[in-house]
């Protein structure tokens, strides 16, 4: 599976660097509060989705199916890439926020930051659970449309959370903080189910059952 991840990293190498640089620009520029975070979250979704799109375009899956990899490994690598990209974007937000605090002389309110990151984790793991079965079922052509809808959803959710925070310092986040275990368990369960469903859909697609 590491080899599959390696392949995705090689494929996305240049794009990833550009996305990271842009994320820092958004995170560090004054007057872009919130936008950097949203962008960092977006790239963690874009990276794995783009690799699926590349795979489909060059018919990598046809080749991968001939090698000693199992369907579980092939599909699982995309989920791991998603979680990896999520961790990377969280890291970008933390580093970006810290650097920004250094030159703007505004202290970082770590409690708020962790709460915001917690919300991002909830959104991104939920997205993984919903998006990958859709992509394996409909392919990336139609999946792109789904992607647009999902991105629109992210913006609404993220901007919504920002305005919530402005109004009431994140009552929703407080609620999330009080019930982390059930929320995390539900998300983990949804991702496990999603993964198994994706493997099934991947196999059906490979068999030519979906046009």
């Amino acid at each position: 599976m590491i080899a599959l991840l390696k392949k995705d990293i090689f494929v996305m190498d240049k794009q990833m660097r550009l996305l990271v640089v842009l994320a820092f620009v958004f995170l560090l520029l004054p007057g872009t509060n919130g936008l950097g975070g949203a962008y960092a979250v977006m790239i963690s979704v874009m990276i794995p989705m783009s690799t699926i799109s590349y795979d489909e375009r060059c018919k990598w899956d046809r080749y991968a199916a001939m090698l000693p990899w199992t369907p579980r490994q092939i599909v699982g690598s995309k989920y791991i890439l998603h979680y990896g990209a999520m961790v990377m974007s969280m890291g970008l937000i933390v580093v970006g926020t810290y650097i920004r605090a250094l030159y703007s002389e505004e202290p970082v309110i770590w409690g708020e930051l962790w709460q915001m990151l917690g919300l991002y984790v909830v959104i991104l793991t939920l997205l993984a659970a919903v998006t990958y079965p859709l992509l394996y079922r409909f392919g990336t052509e139609r999946g792109r449309l789904i992607m647009v809808a999902i991105f629109a959803g992210i913006f609404i959710l993220v901007l919504g959370s920002v305005s919530l925070m402005a109004r009431d310092i994140g009552r929703a986040l407080d609620w999330l903080a009080t019930v982390p275990v059930p929320v995390l368990a539900a998300l983990a369960g949804a991702n496990v189910l999603s993964y198994h469903l994706s493997v099934k859909l991947y196999l059906r697609r490979r068999d030519g059952r979906y046009a």
């Binding site: 060059c58 990598w60 199916a65």
Partner: protein
């Protein structure tokens, strides 16, 4: 042990049915899978590798049922080259080597390097900058760098110039020269298969029309050349395909039953395949 044993294999798609058919590839041999585009050659190779699930029949590869969990280990000993370029365009040959080193336990990086050198493939050039010939050579270099015993080549020589084709056919023949190696090569370029194959299997519209030793096949048939009137007098049971023109007629006939008083020439493999396919149309 046979490299491949197929019994009653079937695969049903919405508008295409492959099989049922039987096919055997003994060790130390090269089997050419001939057929027009869309005949089912690529699907057969995918079914052999369990890269698509079959609807019926049994497939054994290197002595292992290809649907058993043990087949994953057997895949280590199978080198595959596909007709289309299935490698992401931004990847270099060097990076592909690193990826495949993680896929195959027996990956031999030094052997891969030697193949790249032999095929004059720049290791740091991106895949998208490779020519068609170079991409096929890269696929072959990868297939030959993990101690494979069986090579599955799907249209590996199509779209290549004659010199590159000749070079690659030589590589395949050398590989199959070892007793514990075997090659299955699918192609619609029959002349390539005539040069390098021991066995010929002919797929036509998803059905296996024949599978036998190439030499036996060429000895069995004769190419009868005569006038249309003379052809009309020949027993239709011995005719397997014919072409009647304004100035003469040609027919693929059973050599041992061909009329002695008419001109019968040795057919090429391409003649045999074309006439057998034509008869189906007729």
């Amino acid at each position: 042990m046979n490299a491949i044993e197929i019994k009653g294999l079937t695969k049903q798609y919405k508008d295409f049915t492959l099989g049922p058919f039987d096919l055997t590839l003994p060790m130390g041999c090269v089997l050419g899978l001939v057929g027009e585009n869309g005949a089912g050659k690529s699907t057969t190779i995918r079914l052999i590798m369990d890269a698509v699930s079959r609807d019926g029949g049994a497939v054994s590869v290197l002595g292992t049922d290809n649907m058993s969990p043990a087949f994953r280990q057997v895949k280590e000993e199978i080198g595959v080259v596909l007709d289309e370029t299935c490698v992401p365009e931004f990847i270099t040959a060097k990076q592909l080597g690193k990826i495949l080193a993680g896929a195959y336990r027996n990956w031999d990086g030094e052997a891969y390097g030697r193949w790249l050198e032999r095929f004059q493939l720049p290791p740091n050039k991106k895949y998208k900058e490779y020519s068609r010939g170079m991409t096929m050579k890269l696929g072959i270099a990868a297939a030959l760098s993990h101690g494979a015993k069986l090579l599955l080549l799907d249209e590996a020589t199509s779209g290549l110039d004659p010199m590159v084709r000749e070079e690659l056919l030589e590589v395949f023949t050398d590989f199959a020269a070892q007793d514990d190696h075997a090659v299955l090569i699918s192609s619609h370029i029959v002349s390539d298969l005539e040069k390098s194959c021991d066995y010929i299997a002919f797929l036509h519209k998803g059905q296996l029309k024949l599978c036998e030793e190439k030499d036996m096949l060429l000895e069995r048939y004769g190419l009868l050349k005569c006038s249309p009137q003379e052809l009309a007098a020949v027993d239709p049971a011995i005719i397997h395909g014919k072409r009647i023109g304004e100035y003469g007629a040609e027919a693929l006939v059973d050599l041992d039953k061909a009329p002695r008083d008419l001109l019968v020439e040795r057919p090429t493999l391409e003649d045999v395949i074309l006439y057998l396919a034509k008869e189906e149309v007729r």
